[in-house]
């Protein structure tokens, strides 16, 4: 290993990157843009769910009941529908996602102290949203039921409404939200976005950067020079790692300042783990670049290989415990999951080495493995 050659190669690569102004700008703009877009747009909260009401009862009680939904911020009222035949078109045409059908004698049944059935039709296209909406519906229904029961009880027994309310609800559930007291999506999301974006951007940059030389043929200059494969890889990749580390730091700043995510962990530990992760994802780019010959292929492979694990198998959008066994194995075999544990731990839980050493070891093993594979695949004598 000759340090001078590595530095010269890194310098050459750096000049090449900054001379391509659009590429250079995009290398920094893209991660920031993704952070802003996802940070503001990727709310997983289900709110303003468009819904319609079919009210066959048309009584004070049924209007009252419908109003509970109308006034909720989770639902957006789109109007009353005349009868159930209209419902088909509304749901199929994506105008509403839920329809509330209140049958006749709703008021009468409640007044007589009976159970009053209602029908809730939910568009099941998006299963996660369906589940959440069902949760909201259940919450509103149980609130209405408790109100009516307390009223009935206070009338029958002649006790004050407040006491009756306590009697109909003997057990109360107090939920304490840990690690993220306000259940704001953005708090738990912003740290994971660092993981997501650092999984997308470095492989892309690296793969394209290396394959560019292959496709244009300038790599033959390297083949015929005295530079050794190891020197070439180090010098070539150093600028990309540097750009990605700078990006990661900026994303951390955005997460803590703009999005106000709390950072409770050890900054040094986090910085160390982040550098390791960036080296890992750069290594993915390196391996891809060794396997393909054209930049188009490099881009496609880099996006497919990185988007799927980063989005689906890392715990950003999808709960890890709900993965199937096969998918769970896959999640454990890929780096994003480990780094997700690290960012979540550092940001929200204030845990450090003692809880996360295994994750760091796995990332280090990945970095060594990927660069080793890249080194083995790179030969200065291409098969002729």
């Amino acid at each position: 290993m000759n340090r001078q050659r590595i530095v010269a190669l890194a310098w050459k690569e750096w000049r090449e990157i900054i001379r391509d102004r659009l590429f250079f700008a995009l290398a920094f703009v893209v991660p920031t843009m993704l952070m802003l877009l996802f940070g503001y747009g990727l709310t997983l909260d289900v709110e303003n769910l468009p819904f319609a009401v079919v009210d066959y009862d048309r009584s004070a009680a049924s209007r009252d009941y419908a109003y509970r939904f109308i006034s909720s911020r989770y639902f957006a009222f789109q109007g009353y529908a005349d009868d159930e035949r209209a419902v088909d078109g509304l749901l199929a045409g994506n105008q509403v996602r839920m329809v509330l059908v209140i049958p006749p004698r709703f008021d009468e049944r409640l007044t007589r102290g009976e159970a009053a059935p209602v029908q809730v039709l939910i568009d099941g296209t998006f299963p996660e949203r369906t589940q959440t909406s069902m949760g909201y519906v259940a919450a509103i229904n149980s609130a209405v039921s408790l109100d009516r029961m307390a009223q009935a009880l206070s009338r029958v027994r002649g006790i004050p409404l407040a006491e009756a309310r306590g009697r109909v609800q003997p057990v109360r559930l107090e939920v304490r939200y840990l690690y993220n007291q306000s259940v704001q999506s953005i708090w738990s999301l912003a740290p994971k976005l660092i993981m997501l974006i650092m999984m997308l951007s470095p492989p892309f940059l690296t793969a394209v950067g290396v394959v560019r030389e292959k496709e244009s043929g300038s790599i033959f200059n390297i083949y015929s020079s005295t530079v050794s494969p190891g020197e070439f890889l180090l010098g070539k990749l150093a600028p990309y790692v540097a750009i990605s580390i700078a990006n990661a730091m900026f994303l951390w700043l955005l997460a803590t300042t703009l999005f106000g995510a709390p950072f409770k962990g050890d900054p040094l530990f986090f910085a160390f783990a982040t550098v390791l992760y960036v080296i890992c994802t750069t290594g993915i780019g390196l391996v891809i670049s060794m396997l393909v010959q054209t930049q188009v292929a490099a881009m496609i492979v880099a996006s497919i290989v990185s988007i799927i694990p980063a989005v689906l198998y890392s715990g950003v959008l999808l709960p890890l415990p709900s993965l199937s066994p096969a998918a769970s194995v896959l999640a454990h075999a890929l780096p994003p999951m480990y780094y997700t544990n690290i960012v979540v731990g550092c940001f929200l839980k204030a845990v450090s080495w003692h809880a996360l050493w295994l994750e760091v070891v796995v990332l280090a093993a990945y970095a060594v493995g990927l660069f080793g594979l890249g080194y083995l695949l790179f030969t200065k004598r291409p098969a002729s």
Binding site: F23, V118, T132, G135, A139, N141, P170, R172, E174, V351
Partner: protein, 383 residues
């Protein structure tokens, strides 16, 4: 017009150019392998492994009462939503379980729970929920509240003698989930992934095909031929559309249909027509990017700049309704937003054009606009 666009000569030129594009595409072996993988393996992975729902959330109990009532309540946290892992032992141990991510929630039942219930007092039960993942946290507390609520009502009914037929006035919801009654995640994830892959390829392939000619200088050779700018651009889009449609057919009939029993309720002809229209529209965006970029690396970055917001603003991953208003506005100019409505509408809901005409119309308008701008820029650059 002897050599007009739709004259025999013009059509032959289109055919020859399309053939050239297809040949060029098929010769990139690594690309074709990954193209096939994207429409099969990738979609299989997305559809098979992933569930957006809360299933088997590990829950530990801290039973301070150890009575019949407390065991009864704790025993109601059962699969499919919960997976009881037994007693945590001590509060410190419970916090450690939560810290290490071994459990999702801890149910804390206070001492004298049974006794106070019998006396008619109101008792609070605590649940500590890990909300590092806020969706999961919400679902956990929502299901927990439902279980405890139902238990409470039963206790109240017994205590106040309201059991039997007239068990007090209450609302009972009969929730019916349409189009996907078993909440099969594979259908949603599979289609969503298919649309993502279609989008990726329909931006990147035409854009890259265009810029590669620029980068290598072969565009100059095309310029000196009698071909008009349209005759150069259009075959690229046609070739890519054909390949992407073939890929979609493989994904639908080779993966999603046989392996995941995806119901294709609507007309498949309509689906493929709408897909073709969508690929055209999106390819227009790619060509627009190609007129800005000078080399392939730039095209790649620009593709990400276009692709990511499109995916995000389409409603595939997150509900558009919950976004801030300015973002909801942007969703109206994302062709994927319309394609998503149409694709799910046709495949899952069995909707036809009579319901989806507005989406299709909007997509067409966007396509013409984008393609027009791209053509103009290209013609000016090469003129």
């Amino acid at each position: 017009m002897r050599n007009g666009l739709w004259s025999p000569v013009g059509l032959r030129r289109l055919r020859v150019m399309t053939h050239k594009e297809l040949l060029q595409l098929f010769r990139d072996a690594a690309l074709m392998v990954f193209f096939l993988y994207s429409f099969t393996g990738d979609i299989y992975l997305a559809a098979s492994g992933v569930s957006m729902q809360l299933k088997h959330a590990a829950i530990a109990t801290l039973d301070g009462d150890r009575s019949f009532a407390s065991r009864e309540l704790a025993g109601r946290f059962q699969p499919p939503y919960f997976k009881p892992v037994g007693d945590a032992g001590s509060p410190g141990q419970a916090i450690r379980l939560l810290d290490d991510g071994d459990v999702m929630a801890v149910l804390d039942i206070p001492p004298r729970f049974n006794e106070r219930l019998q006396r008619g007092e109101q008792v609070s039960v605590q649940m500590q929920v890990d909300t590092s993942n806020s969706v999961l946290g919400f679902l956990t507390s929502s299901y927990g509240a439902q279980i405890v609520g139902r238990y409470g009502l039963e206790v109240a009914a017994l205590r106040e003698g309201m059991s039997g037929a007239g068990a007090g006035p209450r609302v009972e919801a009969d929730v019916r989930v349409w189009y996907n009654p078993n909440q099969n995640d594979a259908w949603f994830m599979g289609i969503s992934e298919l649309l993502t892959v279609i989008t990726l390829f329909s931006i990147l392939l035409p854009a890259a095909a265009m810029v590669r000619e620029k980068e290598r200088g072969t565009i100059e050779q095309l310029m000196v031929t009698p071909l008009s700018p349209f005759q150069i651009l259009f075959p690229k889009v046609v070739a890519m559309t054909l390949v992407i449609l073939a890929g979609s057919a493989i994904a639908l009939f080779g993966v999603l249909g046989p392996l995941f029993q995806l119901p294709m309720r609507g007309s498949l002809v309509t689906f493929f027509l709408v897909t073709a229209l969508y690929v055209f529209t999106t390819a227009g965006l790619g060509l627009l990017a190609a007129t800005v970029a000078r080399n392939l690396a730039q095209v790649g970055m620009l593709t990400v700049v276009i692709l990511m917001p499109m995916l995000l603003l389409s409603g595939a991953w997150t509900p558009i309704e919950a976004m801030p208003p300015w973002m909801r506005g942007l969703a109206w100019i994302s062709p994927l937003h319309y394609f998503l409505d149409a694709a799910y509408g046709i495949l899952l809901k069995g909707a036809g054009l009579e319901l989806l005409w507005d989406s299709v119309l909007a997509m067409t308008a966007l396509g013409i606009l984008v393609f027009g701008i791209g053509m103009r820029r290209f013609a000016r650059q090469s003129g």
